[in-house]
């Protein structure tokens, strides 16, 4: 399923050299000197990294390379020891997770966080930004927020239809399958109206039959102009849909490039693919906690 998912294989990164820390023509996210250590262990130490607007960028690396930590740092779910990063020109360091989400950078989680005892529709409505009824005093002014609620509901139904969850809208999110929860989480993130979506292992724990559909959703997002950054283990997935791949090892960016560059990069093969990536094309998944639930 490699190159056909990419459609006409437009090279969105034309003219960019496959070098670690290389500058991009139109970066939406720029990371500078971000460091985080736990005790004596340096988990993340990224000198410079840019993410091109409107592309799918994959973040890969062996277990413990710091992918998820970097994700948590960039989205405000962990604190950096030092370093800065800007999103659409705005400096984000020091902001809490909710502030970063409001700036338009919305994340999902490796272990899916469906709000299990809320219905699918409530999950969606919760995510809509700027609701007057979410303020404590505003909540009593029913007529004021009802109109807004109707508009949000209409938008939520469109998104649920797109992710084939509309029939489940009144069911508890906890009754959905693992794959459906991933879809719900993605749909819910879109309710926030993000400009960039950060997917932490979107395929982990998903039934193989649903993987293709998830991939189509991700490429569709990119084709609508959204920027996607995702962490993933499955090499087929990464090679198939990414416009650009960033390889992390021991917290550092050791390589960047198009899928073809990465495939040929000896450092990457040494650090990450090893001898395990041959014809089978599947790297054994080891740190995806919930894949066997």
């Amino acid at each position: 399923m490699s190159s056909d998912v990419n459609g006409a294989t437009v090279d969105r990164m034309a003219g960019v050299d496959p070098l670690p820390g290389v500058a991009k023509p139109d970066p939406i996210l720029v990371v500078d000197g971000v460091r985080r250590s736990f005790g004596g262990l340096t988990a993340v130490d990224v000198e410079h990294l840019e993410v091109q607007r409107g592309t799918i960028t994959a973040l890969i690396g062996p277990n413990g390379a710091g992918k998820s930590t970097l994700f948590n740092l960039l989205t405000g779910f962990d604190r950096v020891d030092s370093g800065t990063w800007t999103f659409q020109g705005k400096q984000l360091n020091g902001l809490g997770g909710h502030r970063i989400a409001r700036e338009g950078m919305v994340r999902t989680f490796q272990l899916t966080k469906a709000l299990t005892r809320l219905t699918v529709m409530e999950n969606m409505l919760l995510a809509a930004p700027g609701q007057t009824g979410e303020r404590i005093l505003g909540s009593f002014l029913r007529p004021q927020w009802r109109k807004q609620e109707e508009a949000n509901r209409a938008r939520a139904e469109q998104l649920l239809e797109r992710f084939k969850l509309l029939a489940k809208k009144d069911e508890m999110a906890g009754s959905l399958s693992g794959g459906q929860r991933k879809l719900l989480e993605m749909a819910r993130a879109l309710m926030v109206n993000p400009t960039m979506i950060m997917l932490d292992e979107p395929m982990a724990g998903v039934n193989p039959a649903l993987v293709q559909s998830l991939l189509e959703h991700i490429t569709a997002l990119r084709d609508e102009g959204m920027t996607v950054l995702f962490v993933e283990h499955d090499m087929d997935v990464i090679m198939g849909i990414s416009d650009w791949i960033v390889v992390l090892s021991e917290g550092k960016v050791i390589a960047e490039g198009r899928p073809s560059d990465i495939r040929a990069d000896q450092r990457v093969i040494d650090a990450y693919l090893g001898s395990g990536y041959e014809e089978s094309g599947r790297e054994p998944q080891t740190d995806t906690g919930e894949s066997h639930e």
Partner: protein, 328 residues
Amino acid sequence: MDILQVLADATRSAIGPVAAVYALAAIGLNMHFGYTGLLNFGQVGFMLVGGYGVAVSVSTFGLPLGVGFLIGIASAVALALVLGLPTLRLRADYLAITTIAVAEVARLIYRAEFLRDITGGVYGLQSFSTAFYQWNPFPSGTYGFGWLSFSARDLWVMTVTWGLVLVGSAVMWLLIHSPWGRVIKGIREDEDAVRSLGKNVFVYKMQSLIIGGVFGALAGAMLVVNQQTITPDQFMPQVTFYLWAILLLGGAGRTLGPVLGSVVMWFLLSVTDSVLRQLIATDVITFIASSEIGGVRHALVGVALLVLIIFRPQGLIGNRKEMLINVK
């Protein structure tokens, strides 16, 4: 055995002022635990500051009773801030530890010798609720019929306290069935997910803690107004655990759960008490002394609660399907 007498006493207890006070405090706990998922093991602390807010204002400083209520509410807001500011950013269990400790520390401070001029120390305070009974619109006499009758005084306390329960339940329903309530319930399920959607989880948890605490303070204020006296040692940690039992019995996360829980709980406590008392008086039971009844009936109610939690974990009016969804 006089069954009618037993039922009459139990009914009076179930709809009496104390049941209303516990319902009010449990409504607050329902906001904390039932909707937001906050583990508050110090609800009695909010009752304490509410009760003393009234007693100290009126008795010590001679302020009007209405001002006393406002001071009680303000004390609850202050206590919620003290509890919440350091702990609400941490994991849920830290709040649990802090609340149980702070409620007990507060009791020890209010009873301390150095504050005796203000709080009355271990002896507490009296005569602060005269105004409340002067406002009683019911002419003196007994109200009700036959075995189910109340004095005008009791009727007045019951009207006000159950009125507060009613208003409180309505406020709670409006809050929970609004986008605000949706965020609150989302936080109960997974606060990181809610944060990732751009909601300031800390602020919402703080608002929930304050609202539930204010209900606790109102309950404490009505409790001491009903008693016409306040002593620090009635605010022991077990009051909080009664409230938890009431909430789980009725059904956490339901608007009427705490109300029903309180009514049923006080009914059961009274029934076991009367039955034991009568059985001992008629020498059917000889191995329990009447002085031990208090302990035995609590054990019996405990057993009843255990049975309930085994066979009906969602409480009397909880939603079993919702309860049993795997929460990960």
